[in-house]
Each structure stands twice: as structure tokens, then as C-alpha cells.
Symmetry: C2
Subunit: 459 residues, 2 copies
């Protein structure tokens, strides 16, 4: 097992190819290290520059007197092997090569030459042709975009391993917008040395990671991936989005990362055998990750779901989607029905869905959620909040957070509309309750949680 | 065919049940008429109030000296039949009953009594148990939420008929957030008189409506719906989201609007026979409506799609989704490839996807889009914009708008991420180019456009 710790928690970093020019990648990476939350030492390396942002610039990593845990390399591709030699001589074993220009553009020779240096010195290398690492816990951040251009999510429990850098950055930006939280992000590009399997294995032992999400086009070493995934998935959920499922997608993948996307049938079967959960699309990846991160303690005892809504139509659509996703509508007990009816006006419908109707306030939600939490015939709860009503106010967030904090059974929120709905969802999400906008998304997430609990029982 | 014109373009409106109490529905409806964009006369009617917002209040509609085109009724359900009698005597034929408390809560007797009055006087009634109408062209707005609580979309070409009021309002709020535009919104509730078929027929002849979207739980009169839909769908696209597809959903629907959701198989077959396009979920409804509204002139000649991207992974996922949705990847011609390669650095990949890579600027997009627009082997274009890159700036909107304005072939945009991506999409949407966040959504929308063009050829 590779020791990758110092990629994520380096005490000192050299940015090789650091630049004083604000538009250069090497400048942005260096600036992010010195201006954002990183607490360790940072050294800029560039033979043609005296100083960058007031920091003395080194001609070579060999000129730095202190130990360097991690080198981030953003230089022209052709000099990379020489730079790696210098790192090796310096004793810096962990290197991220951001630079592109290797096998993905047909430069197989250069990739082989680089590989030879890595082998010779036993280096650990992430990349090339990648955006590297973002770890909100230590401020390690090699993403070459300033924070005003690319949002960085807050500290959380979901880690994300992406073969594609651009796609990974898009998702980070989106996570920040939505208030989703992150443990570690790694873009590994051409995987010259460290591959997706190594990263999965590292995240398995990382206490800050509860869920491992992976975007992959093709595994670098199928057998290794299978063995590691099988070991890890028993212990920590792994969710994979596999691109290159069709012939057209495979051709596109081979131009992109040079990955052999392989037969999707084989991948699918590997996922099933190893216990990897498969996401059908980008949204599902995090839809599943959030419910598993926040609502898997305790896991659902069964598949009976109670819907609590203030809009009938949304309730009907959700009922349809739950059934289509292999779940069942719970039957609220006589006691539950009695309790809710006693506290509500007669036009409230206490079946499944429980329709609190358009004049529902937070107290009506409290009553219904409480009753459902205490009803043993209910395994999971979907609370639908349509905030386009005259009376519902944002204190409903407290009601939901309080119910969820009892950790009796999984509870999720379904809400949509304009700006207020977005703000509401962000607040709820920050309380550790996963939120969804559409019935199909909520139902498929609950269904994955249920499947995970079933797999868990069999272990 | 019912004459529903004065529901949407009333010269004068009486709000019966208008109130001076700011929390009352009758207050909000009246205030929206006087404070927002409505240009006609508005009369508040309430026997217990002298004046509302400085307007003299009438004891009964009969006390108003001028003609009243439309009465909006927000009174206790039990006095509705008497109010309708007064409207009839006044000569006001068009009435929207907002009030609930009829058959949806088991009050079948009252619904029958109301129906008898409608028949006796030959009234046109929308509702009861609905939120009524919003027409941005005339400012007719019976939605009982203030504009700060519920966004109203701008004037556009998509009309939306919803059996559910809450779901309809949620979608309006969401349309406003996203910058999607609206022609007419109608929530018709219990459909005591005017039903979804009447509304579809009206919108067919409405010049401001180009696309008709419908959320329905069950048709009031199946035969009538079939006949009208068959006539209209030939001429204007109708997109339906049918709720109550499963047994659980049907039960929920019957508690909600009292609708008989019926056999989904039969509905599905009716949709196919009449040429109605079916949406699988809420998002699809507007995903399909927007592409049909904006990109159906001209319709695609075939199903060959060109992807132009600045992120390889997003391109791979999109290629997969296009194929899964029955479309094909176009083969760019030798001339197209030559033209783009000549104007781009060597690391740009000119296949399908065309990967302009992470350092693409607006000019690189202009070159690629122009070449694709002029290539006869390409029927439709997906432009992927990942704005998490150092160089891409918002002038790419102009490039895309200019290409789309030539109206040579359908073009859509796929973009996602944080706040900047959202702003970018809203600007592009406002130029009449449909935008999507995820590959599956973009691909299914293109696939519906292609299917529509195929149906169109057969006519």
C-alpha cells in the first residue's frame, strides 16, 4: 500500500514552475497556497524569477535548505523528467505533475521517460495532465483557479476521485453553490503512477472520509482495481460514475485521458461483485453520496417510506417515483393517524402521503414528523416543503433539524422553486439532512440507501 | 368551443371576498391586481368592508355600475352558489373560484349545487380549489401569493396547465429563478366546468402560446380529451406529465384532486395516438418545452449531433447519453476539421466531441461553432461550457447567441457549476437558447426535438 499521507497533509510544499505572472497556472497555485488556508511552508521554484508575492524564489528544489514533503510541478512537459530527478535528489518523494502534454496528446515517449524516473527513485506521482488535490482540512490546494473563479466546498465527509480535472472542478464549484461538503478531492489525470485504486485504498483508511465517489473512464489496472474495491466497499461506500459506456463514449474517452474504457458489461459486473454502488449520472453521484454520508446511521430497517407534504401534486409524483424505485409506501399506524388528526384542521389528509395542505405551518410539520419518527411501521421519511405558500416560514428548518438529530430513521427533504427554496435547502443541507429538488432524485437516493442497508445485513 | 378569452384578457375584474387583512387570500389577490401590471379596472367586493387599499368596496357584484368581465371568488365554500347567482345576474359569465372545500374534502353535495347554478346560467367557471390564472401579457394574476414570495416569469411562449395549484406555483417560482419565460399559467383544480381539454383548445388558438405543457392526474372526460388533443397536437406541441402512474400514486391522486388517475397504460396509449409528447418528470416537462419553443425553426434534418466542449469528461458523458437516447454522433467533414485545426493550437482535439480543452477562449468557440453550423453532416449542436477555466469569459454568450441567431440548425448549451455558471445559463436562456446542466437532460431534450421533427415529416 502506497503511503500517500503527505500528498494531503504536507508540512512543506515546493511549487515548481511558480510564476509572478498572474495568468499563469504556476502563479495561481502558489498564490492559493500562500493566500488561502494552508498552514505549512511554501517555496516557489523558478530559475528566471527573483521573488513571487514577496517570497524568495529558488532556482531549483535542490536550493531549498529545509525538507520538502510535496512538490507541485507546473512546468513545460519536456523538462518534467529532469525536474523529477531533482525532486528525487532532494528527497521529495511525493510529486503532483499538473502539466499536460504527455500521452494524452500522443507524446508516449515522454510519458515512458517520466515513468522510468519514477521507477528508478521509487517516487509517488499523481498526474500528469491533472489538477491535483484539494483538501479543505489542511488547505492543500493545487487547483489552478483562484477561489473567486472556482468555489471550494467546506470540510465534510465525502471524498471525490476524478479522472477528469475539468469535470472535477465543475463539481467542486457546484458543491460550493449547493452547500455540499467535501473531505478530499483528487484529479489524477493520466495516472502514470498513483491510480484510482491507490486513491480508493488511501481514502479507505482516511478517518475524515466516510464516502468515496469516483468518476472514471477506465481503470488503469483492472485486477488491482477489483481487489482493492472488493476490500474497501465492504467497509466504506464507494459510488462510481463510469463514463464511456457506449462505443461513442469509449472513443471520446480514449481521446480524452487515453483511457481504455473497456466493456461496460464487464465494469458493471465488477461493480456488482465488489459492492460498488453505480451512479447513472453526475447528479446521482452526489445524491447517493449525501444520503449515505448523512442518513446511514441508523440504516433503514425496511423499505416503507412515509411522505409528508404541503402540496398534493408533489406528493403524488413522489409516491409514483418511490414505487418505481422498488420502495413501498408505509401505512401510518392508527395511533399516528389519530395523533396528527387531533392536532390539525379537518382538511388535512392523513394517509400516505400525509398532505398537510397549502396552509401548513412549521408546527403542523412538527406534529406529523414527530408522529412518523415514532411509528415503527415507517422506515424512512420524505418531507416535501413547497415554500410557495402564505404561511410556511424558515423556522421549519429547526423542526426538521430537531427531528433528524434524534437519529431514529433516515429522513430527507424534497423542495423546489425559486431563491427561497434554494436558501432553505442550503440551510437544511448544512444541518446534515440531504435535500433533493425532484421526486425521481429523492426516490432513487432512498432506494440506494435501502440497497446499501440490505447489502450490509448480508455481510 | 368555449370562449375563454376574457379569463386571460379581462377589461374589468371583481375580486369577491377581497379583504383588508394582509394575510387573507382575498387581500393578496386584490393587491396583486391593483399594485402589479394589470391595466384594467378592479373592484373589491365584500359586504363587511368600506374600502381596501383606498378602493371603495362593494357589498355585492350587483352594486358595481360598470360591466365586469371576470369575477375572482375567494369566499367560504358554502356561499359560492349564491355568489355565482349574483355574478350571473350581473352578466359576468367568467368566474374563477379559488376557494377550496368542495368534493376534494368530500363535500360532493356543495359541488353539485354549484354545478347546477353554472348550468342554469351557462357560466364559464375555472376551479374550485385552484389558484387560477397568471398571464404576464395582461397582468391578469389570481395567484394568492405576493410577488416577493412567489416569482412571476417574464412573457414567453410556453403555457402551462396544471391540475395542482401548489405544484404549478412551485414551477412558476422555479421558472423565474432560471429565467424561463411563460405565456399563460392556469391551475384548474376540481374542473367543475372548464377542464384541461378546454384549456388546451383555448391555448391552441392563442397566438402567444407556442408550446402547451400539462400536469395532470386524470382527465375529466377521457373522450373529449382525446379528441381535442388529437386535433391540437398536430399543430402545436403538447407535453404532458401524467401523475398517478402507479397504484400508490393513483390512491394519492384521488385524495388530492379527487381525480380518477385511471390506467396509465391507457393514458400512455392515448398520448401516443394523439401525438402528445410525454415527460418522465418535472424537469423534463420544461426541458422539452424550451427546446421545442426555441429550437424548432428549423427542425433538425436528422439525428447527427456534434459536441463542442472545453472539458473532456463532460464530452464523454454527453456522447454516452446521446447514444443512449437514440441519437448519433455526427462525423465532422474534412473541411470542418481542417478549418478548426488551422485556427487552434495542436492540443485541441477535432473529432466528436471537439475538445477545445481547458484553455479555450470565446474565439476558439466561435471558430468551432461556425464550422459546425456550416457542416451539412451535422444536424444538431451541443455546446458544453465549463466556466471553471482560467480564460473563458462571459463574451462567449455573444458568440453563441450570434451563431444561434442564424437559425441554421438546433443548438443547445450544456453548462454547470457554481454561481457564474448559473448566471451564464440565464443570459444564454434569455437569448432564446435552451440551456441544460447535465448530459442526460440535454440528450433527452435533443431526442424529443428529433422525434417531434420525425412526426412532423409524416403529417
Amino acid at each position: 500500500m502506497k503511503n500517500l499521507k503527505r500528498f494531503f497533509s504536507p508540512r512543506s510544499v515546493a511549487v515548481i514552475g511558480a510564476s509572478s505572472h498572474p495568468k499563469k497556472i504556476g502563479h495561481v497555485i502558489f498564490r492559493n497556497f500562500v493566500k488561502e488556508h494552508f498552514k505549512g511552508k511554501v517555496y516557489p521554484v523558478n530559475p528566471n524569477t527573483e521573488s513571487i508575492l514577496g517570497h524568495k524564489c529558488y532556482r531549483s528544489i535542490l536550493d531549498i535548505k529545509h525538507a520538502v514533503d510535496l512538490a507541485v510541478v507546473a512546468v513545460k512537459a519536456n523538462i518534467t523528467p529532469r525536474i523529477l530527478e531533482e525532486c528525487a535528489k532532494k528527497g521529495t518523494k511525493n510529486i503532483i505533475i499538473i502539466s499536460g502534454g504527455f500521452k494524452e496528446v500522443g507524446n508516449v515517449e515522454l510519458e515512458k521517460k517520466t515513468e522510468a524516473v519514477i521507477e528508478k527513485y521509487g517516487l509517488n506521482v499523481i498526474g500528469p495532465n491533472c489538477v491535483g488535490i484539494f483538501n479543505p482540512y489542511t488547505g492543500t490546494d493545487t487547483l489552478f483557479l483562484p477561489t473567486y473563479r472556482l468555489g471550494r466546498p467546506e470540510r465534510g465527509e465525502i471524498s471525490f476521485v476524478s479522472q477528469s480535472g475539468a469535470l472535477g472542478m465543475m463539481l467542486l464549484d457546484w458543491m460550493k453553490l449547493k452547500g455540499y461538503k467535501l473531505s478530499k478531492f483528487i484529479s489524477y489525470g493520466n495516472a502514470i503512477d498513483v491510480d484510482e485504486a491507490d486513491l480508493i485504498e488511501y481514502l479507505w483508511k482516511d478517518d475524515e472520509t466516510k464516502i468515496i465517489c469516483v468518476y472514471m473512464e477506465g481503470a488503469k489496472d483492472g485486477r488491482k482495481f477489483f481487489n482493492i474495491a472488493k476490500k474497501v466497499a465492504k467497509d466504506k461506500p464507494i459510488i462510481v460514475l463510469k463514463a464511456g459506456q457506449t462505443e461513442a463514449g469509449k472513443v471520446a474517452a480514449s481521446s480524452h485521458t487515453g483511457a481504455l474504457a473497456g466493456s461496460y458489461k464487464i465494469y458493471s459486473s465488477v461493480f456488482r461483485q465488489t459492492g460498488i454502488l453505480e451512479a447513472e449520472g453526475l447528479e446521482n453521484l452526489f445524491d447517493y453520496a449525501r444520503i449515505l454520508a448523512y442518513q446511514s446511521d441508523p440504516l433503514p430497517k425496511g423499505r416503507r417510506v412515509q411522505i409528508i407534504t404541503n402540496g398534493g401534486g408533489y406528493g403524488v409524483l413522489t409516491a409514483d417515483q418511490l414505487v418505481k424505485n422498488g420502495l413501498k409506501l408505509a401505512k401510518p399506524s392508527a395511533a399516528t393517524i389519530k395523533r396528527i388528526k387531533e392536532g390539525c384542521p379537518p382538511h388535512v389528509i392523513v394517509k400516505n402521503p400525509i398532505d398537510l395542505t397549502g396552509d401548513a405551518d412549521s408546527e403542523r410539520y412538527r406534529l406529523a414528523i414527530d408522529a412518523a419518527v415514532n411509528d415503527d411501521g415507517i422506515d424512512m421519511i420524505v418531507v416535501i416543503l413547497l415554500p410557495q405558500t402564505p404561511i410556511l416560514s424558515d423556522d421549519v428548518v429547526d423542526v426538521i433539524a430537531e427531528a433528524a438529530s434524534k437519529k431514529r430513521k433516515p429522513l430527507i427533504v424534497l423542495s423546489a422553486g425559486g431563491g427561497f427554496a434554494e436558501v432553505l435547502k442550503k440551510s437544511i443541507e448544512e444541518c446534515g439532512i440531504p435535500t433533493y429538488s425532484y421526486p425521481d432524485k429523492a426516490a432513487s437516493a432512498l432506494s440506494v440507501l435501502y440497497r446499501f442497508s440490505e447489502n450490509n445485513k448480508r455481510k
